[in-house]
């Protein structure tokens, strides 16, 4: 039986780092990558608890999180391209209205 506490700690730290990245930056690409880091921290916690309870459901949840993330990234990057075409910039603080 492995001690899963340190793994969960690493997951929490990664979640915090990602959250800080989302809050500190206005660049949409770095914000998206920070969201990826947050999701990965959560995945690590899922897998750690799956190992703790000797259950496989946690790992299946991780697979579903990855699936939703792939869909999210595809849509988000398409929107990023649209924003860049619209404003010529990736700074989200300039993007304050949806119409022209």
């Amino acid at each position: 039986m492995i001690n899963v506490g340190p793994f969960i700690a690493v997951g929490i730290i990664l979640f915090g780092v990602g959250l800080a990245g989302v809050l500190f930056w206005h660049n949409i690409l770095i914000m998206l990558m920070s969201i990826e880091i947050m999701l990965n921290g959560i995945n690590l916690i899922f897998v750690a608890y799956a190992a703790y309870w000797q259950q496989v459901s946690g790992q299946i949840f991780v697979l579903f999180v990855m699936l939703v993330t792939a869909a999210e990234v595809a849509i988000a990057l398409a929107i990023t391209i649209l924003i860049f075409r619209h404003k010529g910039n990736l700074d989200l603080s300039l993007f304050d209205r949806l119409r022209k």
Binding site: I37, N43, L44, A50, Q59, A70, I81
Partner: protein
């Protein structure tokens, strides 16, 4: 214990570097490092399949998507990297170590041995078999909905990014 410290320190430091770089290109490359280190952490926890999928889907597909968008939108000066002899030396050493390591693993392994079944997963059974059984029985409906979600997302991305009136 050594591997836990190695992977966790690598993933946290690389994650920190992701959010402190000014150029998104470097952020994306450090994101690859942190994702691979996390795949190592998954493997340490017995989730071998999730680790492999992490490298394939995250560090492979999603990261390539990020890199494509970054390189088509940002003008990052990356030419010096190719001309820098230090970078060339590090790349060469990395490739050499990788090839030697794989050949060493092949040489040390007994190819006539019985196929290795990964045990030590949940309940001590074959880890990947348990995962597949659960995924295709208990979680079948979410799995199918997920595939439809991916299809819709791909179509949506194409429709959104398509240039109209050309």
């Amino acid at each position: 214990m050594f591997f836990f410290i190695l992977f966790s320190v690598t993933s946290v430091v690389a994650a920190f570097l992701v959010i402190t770089r000014r150029a998104p290109l470097y952020s994306a490359l450090f994101l690859a490092v942190t994702l691979c280190a996390q795949a190592g952490l998954f493997t340490l926890l017995g989730a071998v399949f999730v680790g492999v999928i992490q490298i394939l889907i995250y560090a492979g597909a999603i990261l390539i998507l990020f890199l494509f968008v970054i390189m088509s939108l940002e003008r990052t000066e990356s030419r010096w990297v190719l001309r820098n002899p230090v970078v060339k030396a590090i790349s060469g050493i990395t490739v050499g170590v990788l090839v030697v390591q794989m050949l060493y693993a092949l040489w040390r392994s007994d190819s006539a041995a019985e196929p290795l079944i990964l045990t030590g997963g949940p309940r001590g059974e074959d880890h990947i078999a348990v995962l597949g059984k659960e995924l295709f029985t208990r979680y079948l409906v979410p799995f199918e909905i997920g595939s439809i979600l991916l299809l819709v997302a791909v179509l949506g991305a194409v429709v959104l990014a398509y240039k109209r009136g050309k």
